[in-house]
Symmetry: C3
Subunit: 345 residues, 3 copies
């Protein structure tokens, strides 16, 4: 990471309200040019120790300085800067050294293609090679990234950021301050067929996708339109990369859906649900509020609220851990049975 | 969903051949503007009860009316419309209230870039910012969506719908009436390397992808070209979103491949195979006709035809269910062994 | 596959240094037009038998000729060509019959949009509808595919091939001879949020993605930018389709990451690591050099080097295989305990 706003150690300590510690010597005239993790830091970078498990790595670190807790008492090469909360202080330094965020000037790029009756709010930025079909609306201050496609009659709210190459198909509705990363597809057809004499005949998927305010959806994730009505992502929910949301799924507010999760048709999640990476959820289920499902689990039944579930099929965490423990002891159990069958003479 | 073609209750009942039931009172002068699921329905929408497990939700539903079976005898708020088959009748209403499908006018958008010798059938629609490289052909009535790319010499049949942002790489062959959703990639290189003194050297992937008639492939799914010959998707097969098909895979006719499935190189599926969500299949296997593999299973061996398989590694369903049942009783088995070892005095 | 450079059987045998075998008869005047697998071969194609398990398929094959080992002694329909190493000889034929690779002429397509200060090396090919934002550099001889987007200040090295529709977001750095397949996203935001009174507040992701020389990344795979510093893919590593690499992950040199793998934030892989299809790896882990993790496994702990791991949670292969074996015998163990409890009279 580039680091224009160079700091001396003294300036850096002042910025985070920390105490420099040199072990009695004169402070070296170091110039700090950036931030990095313990393992990655270069000799002109500052790092932090948020967890003592990284102490061995810190001993090998090339960092110029390290933010540590006030009671830190180990001998390490980097200059110590003692602060009440190293993680928090580090976040402040990350912000200091961050390059200015990329901004997109308001205006409609001359290559953009706008259909009839497109409505654009004040200050929108329509980037190169976008297609906004007839009847699309985009709210105040939103950015529609290069190569994005917004289908007939779709609505994008205010303050949204569509990264390059997003597809929002016809009639879908996106709220305010929504972030859609590159390659997201909203409104592809749900996977629904009827068998007619051995052929799979497509069931029309005439519903929409509705994405509420403050949702973020990760790169190359896909959300299918409803068979009828809507597939619905509740406000404040955050979805990671390569996630699949099937038709008529309803996700409540403030959920966290980690990468490569798949949720099958018509399943409903409550609020504050967390699905860890690669979880799969079967169709037509109800997942209660504040449920957490651990990575790679497979959910095949309704899950009650306020609990942690693990495994495939997913069961309450305690039950899963017991299963795993028993499984690991299984060879011993088999030996015990053998001894019972043939007791030593 | 918007609902232009408003219906009175009487019109609605007539449309589905059902009997209105008001419990003796005069029918309310309701105007029905759309269809929705039991949980989602607004006071001007009609819903249906396809399964009695949704009866509690129906009691809380705001729907104006509900399609029910002829023997339905519960007391609920929505007006009842009794029909022989509520699901079927509902499908008719979905079609009635559906917005007109988006259509793409025939013609070549002026921004499209066509290479030498491109052949276009009658009535094709080539959308904005498409690239058709030299020697491409597109059959009668097909739509090539915005931002799509069709590589050198690739062939697209008649009556196809390529949604926006589809990539069909060089020389691939797509049949008739094929639907490719946004972000599909056909013809990326197969994942093949030879180790040469510690470096992975690319094995040329010179084959193609062949997609036969009436196939549908979901958003952001990927199908690699063959090392030589072809990766082949048989007629009538339907593939969901985010599916990975490796090089030289052969999928028979009329299969269903659900979201996030991955099929490794050179594996061959028979006809009417169903792979449920997130299934993984190892390479160089044979999967028999009409095999069903349940969600998240991992297939590591050939599978005989006409059977259901579950688990990772996948085994016949009965064997899997016994394993799971035994696993759940494992703590009891351990207790029983303990009692045998130390019988109560 | 088309086969322009037709060969007679004699020419073909000469090309691979093999011995034609006709069982005493006159060689048929066959013209060989292409290569194919045993099952796929047409009557004018040559195939090979690399493994005796394909012998039954060879008996049903329509191939004109087959490359076999020198000691092959079975009776089959195709003409035999005996060679020391059938696989190697076949690779030579694949190369012979391969169509000329698609090439992209140097130059900047008139539709490409180049921001201020873009620097292009000699012989680059900038394809239609690409966007190169301000400050981008592209090294000598690289191809940037149609509809690709390269964000502000990003750097692409020399000799790279970006297939159509690749997204490299701002400030990311790509080395030399890197291949990025269609739909790849480099530099989407890492999935990081802090909970502030029940709302998930975005943690700025200000780092980059760094991809070193000779890396290949498959279609629709995603690599998130670091929270700070870099997400880093080491030289010579090959990544398959639909893979997710989270923020601050570090992948060593010469790894193989198979399709649909997901690696969570800040995990570090050593060199020559192989993760098979659909593997998931939790965050903040260390995976040693030359580790192999089998398909669908879930890694939840650090893994020592030079070993094979299996299962979810992943354990050493021997332990996993014992678990599976015990699990399969579990019903028998239960029966044995029952007999101990109630011995036959």
């Amino acid at each position: 990471m580039s680091a224009d706003p160079t700091l001396t150690l003294q300036q850096l300590a002042a910025l985070v309200g920390g105490q420099l510690y040199f072990g009695g010597a004169t402070p070296p005239p170091l110039e700090i040019r950036g931030v990095a993790s313990v393992a990655e830091a270069a000799p002109d970078e500052v790092t932090f120790l948020g967890n003592l498990k990284y102490l061995p790595a810190l001993r090998r670190s090339q960092a110029a300085a390290v933010l540590v807790a006030e009671d830190f008492a180990e001998q390490v090469t980097p200059v110590l800067i003692r602060v009440p909360n190293p993680s928090l202080a580090f976040a402040r330094l990350v912000a200091h050294f961050a390059p200015p965020p990329v901004s997109f000037a308001p205006g409609i790029h001359p290559t953009a293609i706008l259909g009839e009756g497109v409505q654009l709010g004040a200050g929108v930025s329509i980037q190169p090679f976008t297609v906004l079909e007839a009847g699309v609306s985009v709210g105040e201050g939103s950015v529609v990234g290069a190569h994005s496609y917004v289908g007939q009659g779709a609505k994008i709210g205010a303050g949204c950021l569509l990264h390059p190459r997003v597809t929002v198909e016809a009639r879908c509705v996106v709220g305010n301050r929504v972030i859609l990363h590159a390659g997201v597809v909203l409104g592809s057809d749900g996977f629904g067929f009827e068998n007619d004499k051995g052929r799979h005949v497509k069931i029309p998927q005439v519903g929409i996708v509705q994405v509420d305010d403050d949702v973020e959806i990760g790169a190359n994730s896909t959300v299918d339109r409803a068979r009828f009505g809507r597939t619905w992502i509740g406000a404040g929910t955050k979805i990671d990369n390569l996630v699949q949301i099937a038709h008529n799924v309803v996700i409540g507010k403030h959920c966290l859906i980690v990468a490569q999760v798949g949720i099958s048709g018509s399943t409903r999640l409550g609020e504050y649900v967390t699905l860890a990476g690669q979880v799969g959820v079967a169709g037509h289920l109800e997942i209660g509020d504040r449920v957490v499902v651990s990575a790679q689990s497979g959910v095949s039944k309704n899950l009650g609220p306020n609990a942690l579930y693990m495994g495939s099929p997913a069961v309450p965490a305690l039950e899963y851990r017991e299963q795993v423990a028993h499984l690991r002891r299984l060879h011993k159990l088999a030996e015990r049975v053998q001894r019972l069958e043939k007791p030593p003479a």
